[in-house]
Symmetry: D2
Subunit: 351 residues, 4 copies
């Protein structure tokens, strides 16, 4: 609802700027007596940390999460869980040349228009670093839904225009790009290398699959589960499109082809992607999100300065060539958060 809070019962508030003292999250509404340790949250955080095989991010944050409240002797107490991650490597001075320039593709211009002020260092609040708070909160959400038998993972469906072949992704892939098609992944890696050499960046498509979700989650008509998932995922900085089940392809199908027949064993197909009329139907939930290429390219770009005068901006430092695969745990976190919230909401009315 509010700008920096998501959820009705399981509520996550994130805070922090890229180069401020810290980033973090407050999780309110977590059920009591859940085993929880910093190490579990750390595991999720480590998945989004810079420094993987292809990461060019120069930043080396320890990204150590600290639990400041809400956990007593290893179990949640039902009170707010405050998580903090210090920004140990915050060298804001390196961004001095960007103080008065708007980087194309970034939020610099729109933040300035909105607030009349902005922390220009590393994108400030609009930095991908903010998602550390989300991932930390998502680790808790994941525990809640796991208790209800829900499991989920995301993988790379497409990168730089290269699509994976027909897949039967039984588990979350652990390959460098979280890609279930080894042959396609090799081509993706090659394309990433080419883009890096060219000082350019690439986008891609991430698919999220949720298994074991009970039917009945989602609230008509403005908090449908697909509406909330779409909102949560479109709210990730890099995402420009979200589709559920057959998605955009459904718009080209006939009703007789798109409808999923129902048998005693369940739905026989899953063009609906596990959601009918905004409520889960017990099938797998299938979501795809389109990620734009990272806007931080090394080539000079046309822009304006704070006074509206033409300027050329050159973004220094080294940056990732694609948000994939680092965006994958963020996508998973958002889905976990939405599902945990709806799971609790459903419990309130189950009779």
């Amino acid at each position: 609802m509010s700008g920096n809070t998501i959820g009705v019962l399981f509520r996550v508030t994130t805070w922090g700027e890229s180069h401020g003292p810290a980033v973090g999250a407050v999780i309110d509404g977590c059920p009591p007596r859940l085993d929880l340790s910093a190490a579990e949250i750390q595991d999720e955080l480590d998945r989004r940390r810079p420094g993987g095989l292809l990461s060019a991010s120069p930043r080396r944050e320890a990204d150590r999460v600290e639990i400041l409240s809400g956990v007593f002797e290893g179990r949640t107490t039902g009170t707010p869980i405050s998580l903090m991650i210090r920004n140990s490597d915050a060298e804001g001075a390196a961004y001095e040349n960007l103080r008065a320039l708007f980087r194309p593709g970034h939020g610099d211009f729109s933040y300035q228009a909105k607030y009349g002020i902005r922390d220009h260092r590393g994108g400030g609040r609009a930095s991908g670093r903010e998602t550390a708070g989300r991932v930390a909160a998502g680790a808790i959400a994941r525990k809640i839904i796991a208790e209800a038998g829900i499991d989920l993972f995301a993988f790379t469906r497409e990168l730089g225009g290269i699509t994976v072949g027909p897949i039967s992704a039984a588990t979350a892939p652990s390959s460098p790009l979280c890609c279930p098609d080894p042959e396609a992944e090799q081509r993706m890696l090659k394309r990433l290398e080419e883009a890096r050499t060219a000082g350019d960046t690439l986008g891609g498509i991430v698919e999220i699959v949720v298994r074991g979700c009970p039917p009945g989650l989602g609230e008509p008509v403005f908090s449908k589960i697909d509406a909330d998932l779409a909102g949560a995922l479109m709210g990730i900085g890099t995402v420009k499109g979200v589709e559920i089940g057959a998605g955009f392809a459904a718009s080209r199908m006939t009703g007789s082809a798109c409808n999923d027949p129902i048998g005693p064993e369940g739905f026989r197909t899953n063009h609906a992607g596990g959601i009918l009329a905004g409520i889960t139907n017990g099938s797998e939930i299938v979501i795809r999100v389109a990620c734009k290429p990272i806007p931080s390219i090394t080539r000079p770009q046309e822009t304006i300065d704070l006074q509206g005068r033409p300027a050329v901006v050159t973004i220094g430092g080294r940056h990732d060539v694609s948000v994939i695969p680092r965006i994958i745990p963020v996508c998973e976190a958002m889905v976990c958060i939405v599902l945990a919230d709806h799971l609790l909401r459903q419990r309130a009315i189950d009779r």
Copy 2:
């Protein structure tokens, strides 16, 4: 936030079932002293009413909106505006054969799973008729944003796989299918006729364009304008995908191609679709939504009954062949509602 309410400051709550006594909406947070008449709301409602050129919907609702509160001597008072539309043509008995069967592609199964009870008549709460309340509320939202210079319209970008050619849609088209490409529209009409003959239905893609939106609307990080728009649009029953600006195509672009250069005159391209980091940037907002084919087809379909036994369901009556064009005012209404809410929220912090 809650199931049937959307918005933080401009809050719309809809209520009503397809074949109950009435449907309606309560709009809370509308600024005072806005001229408002039932006739203005009626104009929007008439756009979504069955009975257009291609409509096969047998239902002929007068759909007369009544303003029950919040307006005094032709002006809003700042108190809740209650709108009601009687269901004058609610012949629920015709649905008796659907009481114990789940129609594929509809919310019958998921509602039953969620609530353990459902109003089976015409889809109950999951009926498209619920959107009458949204459209009525959207008419008020449109007046609020119009005062701020914001104008918006939607049109048919694709129907049954037929795409419009390159367009420069200066205004909302008034053709039968709200399609800016007359030649494509003729082919769409033909395809619709073929589908109707085959007892089948078609999906399509609607594009919404917002003009005159000031930069600065949208709140990081969980109520970004694109997140809220995606949530609001994905919450329309028929929608399975939402994309902003270049959308899914952005995932196949390089950063150097996707970034929109900035000049003193503004953004030189608009792959961002008017939104950067979740905040409007002053460019046109461009959104596309994928609509699945209407699930009410006339062919017999495999399903189960309330006891889980195999069954065949045949949906009688006559139904629309596509949600297009009737979904267009609904899409517009949801965008108007989200923009009105964010416009008011921005006023609160403008200094």
Copy 3:
């Protein structure tokens, strides 16, 4: 949270003006499969209707509630319940002389200051008539909490300065003033008659007692059950004070006298009024609210007009001499609504 909505999971939105077409409420979040009839709601509404023994209210509304949605074949469906009560006796013309004058003690001045417009007829939105929607919603809330074994009633503790003697109110009194002390009630009736003769009005104190409430309801730290009850009750137009348990008297006690000792059988005293640290403790919840005298007196009063010029206002018609006893079902309704909401919220985290 929002102006005209209360509750997180059990959410009540009221709408309507005193002399508009109707007043009503939308209840969202009611659990499904609850037996519900208009007659049950009507019973509660009849308790607050003008026309009792001492009522001087000239208005004779049938106050017939109509259920417009959310109930199917006598049971709730989990979707929003829309309730409407037509204003059949809305003779707004009688208020024409008040169009440009601010009645002392009423909301006329503050509404005008807030909105720059107001419906002057009968107080518009600030009329006690708005509470019809609350009472209707409260009737549903009462059914929800009754299922959990919670029972509650309110009675007159004081009227016009006359206090009831030591009482052991086992049940809600059914006497004319809902007063458990017959002797005191006779004196109250006499005092009311004197005030009426003098063209004046009286205030009083209502006490609400909740029995059977399980321990554990209420959420630290900003949605404590006492905080939510105080907010809900102070939001009744006539209420100027709220106290829980020993209330203001607690401020004059020592800790050793105020603390409630705990035994295996439970709390041995109840100065806490059933609430500790904002969470119910299983004892009776005891609340008292101070009601100011009705501001509509028949004597001429000094005021100003819309242009700020001195004026004298004389309020015509006949009005009640005290909000007691008609306010009693309103107080009960607000407590039912708050408890129903917290009961559902607690279910969400019970493990």
Copy 4:
């Protein structure tokens, strides 16, 4: 709305337990470009710190607030402001004897009933220490309302049954007990000393006065300014009663005496306490809250243990004899927070 968050636009979330690593608050919705330093917040925190003249609290927290986000180069950015105060003196081991016992008058029993687990050290989340986050947030709220010309202060109206005489409190008193009547204060101090000697504690009444508040703040009908103030103040752990203006005394007045006549110069009396129909009317807002005696008395008390067996609890350490005067900045903070929220909400609809 949610348990640990208050506000619609100016939203404060507090977190932290008495003896956890830290306490803190996240403030979301603060307008941008407000000058803000840690020192300003520290000034407010120092007012509630233990260690004043009469404080017996053994705890000596440095209570140094750290701004973790939302402020850039000395000005707010519009993004969440995260504040943290380390618990440097958290010697939880001292509370080991309370692990299995419920202290009368404290939240021990109700927390255990609600969550099935609790942090027993120093009251955990129910500790008065949680209010440090509120006071820190209130310091920011105070700056927002000060910009609009609103000023407020609280003072001791009564302590241990000793009431101040007729006062004309032009400014916030700076005396040891924040008491505007020096003679009464001397007697209060004596009474406090007697209570301490007796191992007992005292309650009192705090009055809050708001000056310069513009008319028009507050939203009918469930977010009236008096409703929100009452909820916010009743949510302070020690408060058992709240009254506005004439408060409980109004229940004994006649309408002709209670109504505030209006003249061209404004309201001639202020029995309404500055609020009519839930909306400010431009007069001083006057609120009184009843504080119960601190439940931590040194005498042995009857209670039960976790298994429900009778027990005697003796609370060691030294504790304050009264929440007055330390509660005064907390009361002020809550009023500041509510007013700041409503001020922003009003700006959204001002036209």
